[in-house]
Symmetry: C2
Amino acid sequence: MGATRELAAYIVSARHESLPADVRHEAHRALLNYVGCAVGGAREAAVDIAIRTLARYSGAPEAQVLGRSERFDALHASLMNGISSHVHDYDDTTPKNYIHPSSPVASALLAYASTERVSGADFLLAFVLGFEAESRVGNAVYPSHYDVGWHITGTAGVFGAAAAIGKLLDLREQNMVWALGLAATQAAGLREMFGSMGKAFHPGRSAQSGYLAALLAREGFTSGEYGIEGPRGFAPVQSRTYDLAKITDRIGTHFDLRENTYKPFPCGIVIHPTIDACIQIARSRAIQPSDIAAVHLRVAPLVLDLCNKKEISVGLEGKFSVYHAAAIGLVRGKAGLREFTDETVNDADVKAVRLKTVATADPSIAEDAVRVEVELANGQRINQHVDHAIGNLGRPMTDRELEEKFRDQASLVLPAQQVSELIALCWKTGALADMSQLIAAAVPRA
Amino acid sequence: MGATRELAAYIVSARHESLPADVRHEAHRALLNYVGCAVGGAREAAVDIAIRTLARYSGAPEAQVLGRSERFDALHASLMNGISSHVHDYDDTTPKNYIHPSSPVASALLAYASTERVSGADFLLAFVLGFEAESRVGNAVYPSHYDVGWHITGTAGVFGAAAAIGKLLDLREQNMVWALGLAATQAAGLREMFGSMGKAFHPGRSAQSGYLAALLAREGFTSGEYGIEGPRGFAPVQSRTYDLAKITDRIGTHFDLRENTYKPFPCGIVIHPTIDACIQIARSRAIQPSDIAAVHLRVAPLVLDLCNKKEISVGLEGKFSVYHAAAIGLVRGKAGLREFTDETVNDADVKAVRLKTVATADPSIAEDAVRVEVELANGQRINQHVDHAIGNLGRPMTDRELEEKFRDQASLVLPAQQVSELIALCWKTGALADMSQLIAAAVPRA
């Protein structure tokens, strides 16, 4: 049996009861993080354009788009959900393969679940299976596949969406093989799109294409039998080196979902330690911006290669300025989406602290670490060291921190009361009789 | 200026008046061949499944699918047209890059033209530009890209569809750059799908994805600026070696369309010489099947590697049997779609001649050649040599032969009178005020 069929056989046979409790909990965390990203990104220009452009081509408006009042057919809703959930570069990451795994899978599943009755338990199982299928196909080709220039979130994501939707469609093994094959032959997404809307298009299109693959396969649309491993299949064609054993190694007992991480701050990852340290200082004692005489940062050299801009005026520049990172941490005590707007970048207090910040490259400092010293006007010095920035696997965001992040994102689009309701529903997903309850709470109310 | 922008600039600026007369004529031939394939394939199972599965997800039914009475939104109609026009493996080929070029481009264009008023002149220009964009991007990465396992009809096709639709949408240069970039990041299609419905899915999906790329780009959905040539763009990622100069070399004066070829027979290309020779014998004199004592074929060794099956019972096997090839040539004097049905394979006369046929591998015979000797019951011997089978660039199908092929295909789906009308309209394309006239003739009438 080849890798494609082995993976198909596992997906077809897996049962909700066999999911370990910690995996179920991590699935809830991933879903919470996903929904916050999708709702929070729903008003971005890329989503607006896709919605405006594709309304004409949509089937019956049966599926909700998270964070929006417009409805689409489920395939188009998958696309929109995928774009909005990745557009802030704020969704989850499996560090072992650089995939942003939840978006392609959950974007398709939530579109499906807004057109068919799906229990929370079935939803969670499909989500975990889609996540694993995607991450494991990714593992098989990582790092060669990523290094050559594929945006692995799109290329592996299509397998995840096909597996997840195929599970809800209750495909038999042969049809699941075809679903994975039709996914393989749609695997696309180039890193050349980074910095453009094309990047967020990838998880959207992979959600939509994977969903399409599962629908066609159910009706008997055939693919090659060895879509992943065949000599002209996904792995040999799209990666110079690969290890097919990783696709099914310990499948069903080992879950990549356990190694999922969540981004605490919507900005370049190398400035996360600085933000983390400065937030810790701000939280440990009350400091007024005017109290600050100078801020000294000792950072890894890479930080200054990537984020050395101090004279900035727009929000996007703030995402790649270690000086801005220090300033918002100290002045605002947080670094959510609002801390990377044009307004915040030009805020007088933030700007004043930014200009008082000095950074020194120090090869002895690791990339996920920082040494911060704040010099106060009264001569006092506050030191804060971070060895592993929050959000890393070794120092994961807590459930409560994920909720805070969610509030920050979702409140851009939904009223506070509804945001709280939605958070509660996300935590209860596994017990919901019908996922439409959660979906209804994720769209603006009339 | 990079390759993507140079190509975009050419597409945006090209005018119908600048197309040489022979290129216009070849465009009509390609279109005639395409429409015959699309109409002729419209009742195949792959099309039925796609139509049945996707009806629910279609937007307003404004676009015709060739050969079908169902209507879809234009994106879905592009997909259906692409599947039907490739499902018989009977569409055109540019031998220099192995692309089946018309399907991705015309499938999208005809879907578009059934929702918007498009003149024949504008249509032809968009078709030629789409064809050139696709073929030239293909040239840049061929053969490495094809050898590694990409189905180049799908991967290059998406550029053709984006360019063609983008031209009809009158995109400006920047938007055309994005259309090509969004095409690049959807370039997919694995040769591992050969032998399954997934193969015909490729030109369909590339037509649909290219169309989508152009629509999004028009509304300002951005892509990377160097989708083709950037370090993480299409060419470096999807080909081990490539030559970007081929994309715009002599563009506007040299047309790949001039080197387009059309398949005379819907079967393995290596048995075309045998069919060709046997048809020539059958046409040169009246022979009854019972007159034939034996048929001796001297063929290239590859022919017997690929097509050495004599005991066959289903139509698909006939497509890869050099014995069946000889039998239908001699008995039927033709080799259209009907000669590769189960019925014909089991026809008593065809079977009798097939069993009397013997083939010998001869390394001195080229792959596009054959030596045939028919031994009659009266002892007479008829010899026919073919050095270059019909359909090759050096011996192209005539306009009249293309019409015969068209009749054979389209009459599976449309009445004879309508087929004649449609042929006439295809030849008149460049002069039509509105392409909807042609499209209306390509679908069954109530």
